[in-house]
Symmetry: C2
Subunit: 336 residues, 2 copies
């Protein structure tokens, strides 16, 4: 298994080290190549994602990413030039984000509901395309546009992926959008669910607007099994999902090219958290759970389940002691 | 006081009746004119917001709206053709949405945090402008765009309103956006906060991305005092705010033309709720609290406070009995 590793910035470096402990124990033929991408490289050389790095990264079976972002760099530069650049260049059209309230974890919701759903977020379209611009910048007449680009091609393939996933789960798929306002894009998504749904007669479908979805996420998250949604709504709803399942420190994600043409990339949903970086107190669970998604993506279901079970056991046995990054990594690795 | 009343659809009709009970008791010179707009009118005549109605509505001091939307009409038609049409035609650029966890109300959050903030949502720009379109509709090559339009003029005026409001409150203003991805629009908003902020040196400012904002809304909503944000992010975050403060049944809103040129419109944040319409079990509190916003907007601060105090008293004394719409209206009216 040839793995490109991009520890990135801040706690990304720390949690990636723990994720690698887990992978090394499980995968005998693991070959890792580290790529120095992120704030340090950018500040030293001005480089974000040089062609040579991207070409080299393409040669791997998968990519493990820590986190990107540092206060020393203008907000957005690393995100767009590196993270989104990679998602787009490698056609990571399925952004897979499971949410579970693990036994032993506490939700900030008083009801402690059962939460176990997966968000399938589109990863290469919507308002993330960088379309749009501005004129008369800095004058009283400034106008700026952001263009959300939506294609049948893009929606259909991710909706199909979501139906396939729902078919293996509780057979329920919810589309989240804002069709009452964004009618052009909404029409594509609605039609994609109707059309692809004909191939999955057993999967029940539901729809809710993004605003109402945030209410359900708080009042009744158990209603969700698989959610399919666009790039921006997926960004928003998965952070909220992370919060209600007891913290973004447990939220894993996969940026997947479902065609298999390009290597897929696995990363915790959380960011580089400069405020706690370097202290060894970041929770590596999201990074470790991302390796489970990586293993499953590469067909190693059995190993993926071992990771998930070890994480579950660790969460169930955690007391109220403060988190020590390396100890959690060691404990989970030992429990594999 | 000349009031245009649009009860609208579903529970809109029921909660508006209660809001009017309150206003009639407080305002001796109240003159109301009802406008039959919504699903019934549309289904009977095909009319959404005829010019004659709009012209007549303009002649009032303010507008009281119940809710718009019915399953008999294609989703989006009434919303865009009537509700958004009105917000745009009357230049309702400030969409004011206070969130409070009232004593006696329970939040679904285990922590029962102190929640008392106001969202100032832009109401006439962003992805709500109806810009965009689609080509090759229904083919595998369909492309649809949604264009978010953002102007300095539009952002500056609503940011200024938000600063003025923050100045009268806890002097803290948070901008919510997604500047790391939507860089063109983000630049306008960021610069508007920096620039207008110079006129309000006492107001502390903060920024958070919309995705992170949903986490804060669950983990630490007490951090917010005044929030300023664009049309779409405001739509999303205010529904979530409604949920964490114990339900969208208490969330009031004002669609305000701060220039005073056009009448402002006051409405509960909730929709027409066809599932419970006609049963007399909708909570009229959000509609009644919207009349407090209306009264304050028309300079009747003292009456506005009486409404708020009567609502507070009612919420504090509510048991677990099921809600009866007219009883709550009667109780609050009696307590004025
Ligand atoms: C860092 C940012 C560009 C990114 C996104 O918006 O996709 C992040 O929030 C995420 O969810 O992975
Ligand atoms: C009904 C819909 C068009 C509207 C909006 O998106 O603004 C509603 O959700 C609201 O928040 O008032």
């Amino acid at each position: 298994m040839k793995l490109a590793v991009i520890p990135g910035d801040g706690i990304g470096v720390e949690v990636t080290a723990e994720a690698l402990k887990v992978l090394r124990k499980l995968v005998a033929d693991l070959e890792t190549t580290e790529y120095d991408l992120g704030a340090k490289r950018y500040n030293a050389t001005g480089e974000l994602l040089p062609d040579a790095d991207l070409a080299a990264i393409r040669e791997h079976d998968a990519i493990l990413l820590g986190a990107i972002g540092d206060p020393s760099v203008t907000p957005g530069v690393l995100e767009r030039g590196l993270l989104l650049n990679m998602r787009f260049a490698l056609d990571h059209h399925v952004n897979l984000r499971p949410s579970r309230l693990y036994p032993g974890s506490r939700s900030p919701l008083a009801a402690q509901p059962e939460i176990d759903f997966v968000v399938v977020r589109e990863g290469t379209e919507g308002p993330y395309t960088g379309n749009g611009g501005a004129i008369r910048v800095g004058t009283p007449h400034e106008i700026a546009t952001e263009v959300s680009v939506n294609t049948w091609f893009g929606a259909e393939r991710v909706v199909r992926y979501a139906f396939e996933l729902a078919q293996t789960r509780r057979k329920h798929l919810t589309l989240i959008h804002k069709t009452n306002v964004l009618s052009n894009a909404g029409a594509i998504w609605t039609r994609a669910v109707e059309t692809v749904g004909k191939d999955f007669p057993e999967v029940e479908t539901a729809y809710c607007h993004i605003d109402a979805a945030t209410i359900y996420m708080v009042d009744d998250p158990a209603r969700f099994d698989v959610i399919v949604t666009d790039n921006l709504f997926g960004d928003i709803i998965t952070d909220l999902a992370g919060a209600v399942t007891g913290g973004i420190g447990m939220a894993a994600s996969g940026n997947i090219d479902a065609s298999g043409t390009n290597p897929s990339m696995f990363e915790p949903v959380h960011g580089s958290a400069p405020d706690i970086a370097g202290k060894g107190i970041a929770d590596p669970t999201a990074a470790i759970l991302s390796t489970a998604l990586l293993l499953r993506h590469l067909g190693r279901d059995e190993e993926a389940e071992r990771v998930e079970r070890a994480v579950e056991a660790d969460l169930a046995s955690r007391g109220t002691d403060p988190i020590v990054t390396s100890e959690i990594g060691d404990r989970i690795t030992a429990a594999l």
